[in-house]
Amino acid sequence: MSFNQLNKFMGDLLPFLPDSLLFIMSGIFMAAGICTTLIGIGSVYTWFERRVLAKFQSRIGPNRWGPFGLLQPIADAVKLMLKEDIIPRTADKLVFIAAPIIFLATTLMVYSFIPLGEDSQLGGGNVALLFVLGITSINALTVFMAGWASKNKYAILGSIRAVAMLISYEVPMAVSLMGVVMMSESLSLVGITKSQSTIPYILIQPLGAMTFMIAAIAEMSRAPFDMVESESELIGGYITEYAGMKFAAFQLSEFLAPIFTSAFFTVLFLGGDSGFSFIPGIFWFSIKTFIVTCILLWFRSTWPRLRIDQIMGFAWKVLMPAAILNTLLIGLEIVFIGENYLLQIIINFLAASLFIYFIANVLGQKRLVLEKPVPSELANMDANR
């Protein structure tokens, strides 16, 4: 249901109220509905992620409570709610409390701009793309707030890492979206979806999609870019000192982030709700989002973490040129080729593979060549005999 429909429905239901009050009320209802749904989805996603990760690691995963362990998120939520809410004595109390709230609020806020289906006006707004990019950059600030207010050395180290990393990855992410904006001639997510009705942009802009995907994984600081929390190094990074509901808020928004990223990726590069028309658009949207989420989980389960300097180098040396090249290519194609999709696909895929080859084999390390070991002269037991 869209906001306008809700507003009209409220007007029919309560005709004696003034329009302005109806507007505010339907806004509140809408927001409450979205938040509740999202929190529900987020908690189910925690179960899903744990189950799928367990399968990748040849384990079973939570299966005790309810069918297939589906009630596990509820048990977790109850446990976290009943925990003592600890605020360290030396912490900056106001900032310490504010950080998880802002973190969760921003994460929930971006969801209101995802166009779920054909008649959904949630994704409206002429500059939704800019709004989403802007809101997601608040993450860096909240993570820094949390880390700094905790007055914990691990937390500060983690938050400094977070600021450095998140800001670096903002840039290639935004630049990689330029291609999409240029092709669809729109900044609204609905417009972008509509312009992909013939062909999804991932086929036309493989380089842009790849860049966006990697930058987005880094933005939500998941493996292999989970520098911010990096369990084995900094214990928990900025969430080291958090417990109880504050911790739950951080965890929830962290689990909501991959869903949002998948949905955003679906809108930008996979054509959103477009598909065969006999199945409703919301179904197409969900299934695409689901597949992207699974791929993110697959990456997470397989790859180790990069080091901080390697991550920063990757952002500026690899992703930035890729994003700029993509923008340049798309711009030139729009001017000189026009709407010949086949030619664009050929050119762009060629350019993408050439670029990856160049980066991998010229700038990156060569293939693993194991040197032949030479025994040292010292204490060589074969020599003694």
Partner: protein, 227 residues
């Protein structure tokens, strides 16, 4: 090409996800039963089981049915439910002397009885403090009359520390399911497994009274071993 290793790793994790049989998690103490497990339990084909028991099939699909699951363990497992045979014990306190931690306490009565394997005392106290026990099994190794055996169970968890001390009454009443640890004669029987049935005192031992020379060899190291 640089970068292929990453995708090779992805294929490995995918392979491990698909090959579900590689999972060797044991769900203990109970297991969420699937329809296949239930059908196997009632010796039926799973299709016929689903037709005859639709409610149970649905429940198991929802993950509401759990069946008992035992951990696979070898008869030689050193469990904490000690098996002690009053009839065989002479009260020599070898186990107490040999325990590295000194957690076995034996007090005997002077009035003796005659049993098959030699003179024995009445046991008044036989306390094993399994709260400190490390299940090395040296007491079992030391017992010359095969009276003390490691058990096969391991579910002796208690709420109070005092309850962890196994006293003589509990030892007498306990289920006699001796482990094969350091008791090769039990393994040689072939058909006996500690998980099936209890075993009586007259069939756990070597059944021959050890000769004085054997006892001497076992307990005293001296130069005159040969004589």
């Amino acid at each position: 090409m640089y970068g292929l290793g990453l995708f090779k790793g992805l294929s490995i994790t995918l392979k491990n996800m698909i090959l579900v049989k590689r999972t060797n998690t044991v769900q203990y103490p109970d297991k969420k039963a699937s329809v296949f497990d239930l059908a196997r339990q009632s010796n039926k084909n799973f299709i016929s089981y689903m037709i005859t028991n639709p409610l149970n099939s649905f429940k198991s699909f929802m993950g509401l049915i759990s069946i008992k699951q035992q951990v696979d363990q070898h008869p030689r497992f050193r469990g904490e439910e000690f098996s002690w045979y009053e009839e065989r014990c002479t009260g020599c306190a070898s186990c107490a002397k040999y325990c590295p931690l000194g957690i076995i306490k034996i007090v005997t009565d002077q009035t003796g009885k005659h049993y098959q394997e030699g003179q024995s005392y009445d046991i008044e106290t036989f306390d094993i403090d399994i709260g400190r026990c490390m299940f090395c099994g040296l007491c079992v190794e030391a017992c010359p009359y095969d009276a003390l055996h490691m058990g096969s169970g391991f579910e002796e968890g208690q709420y109070m520390r005092d309850n962890l001390v196994i006293d003589v009454d509990r030892l007498k009443k306990a289920e006699k399911k001796p482990s094969h640890w350091f008791r090769p004669q039990l393994s040689d029987k072939g058909d006996y497994s500690p998980f099936d049935a209890e075993i009586e005192w007259d069939s756990v031992g070597r059944h021959q009274k050890p000769s004085n020379k054997e006892l001497k060899n076992k307990w005293i190291r001296s130069e005159s071993n040969d004589s």
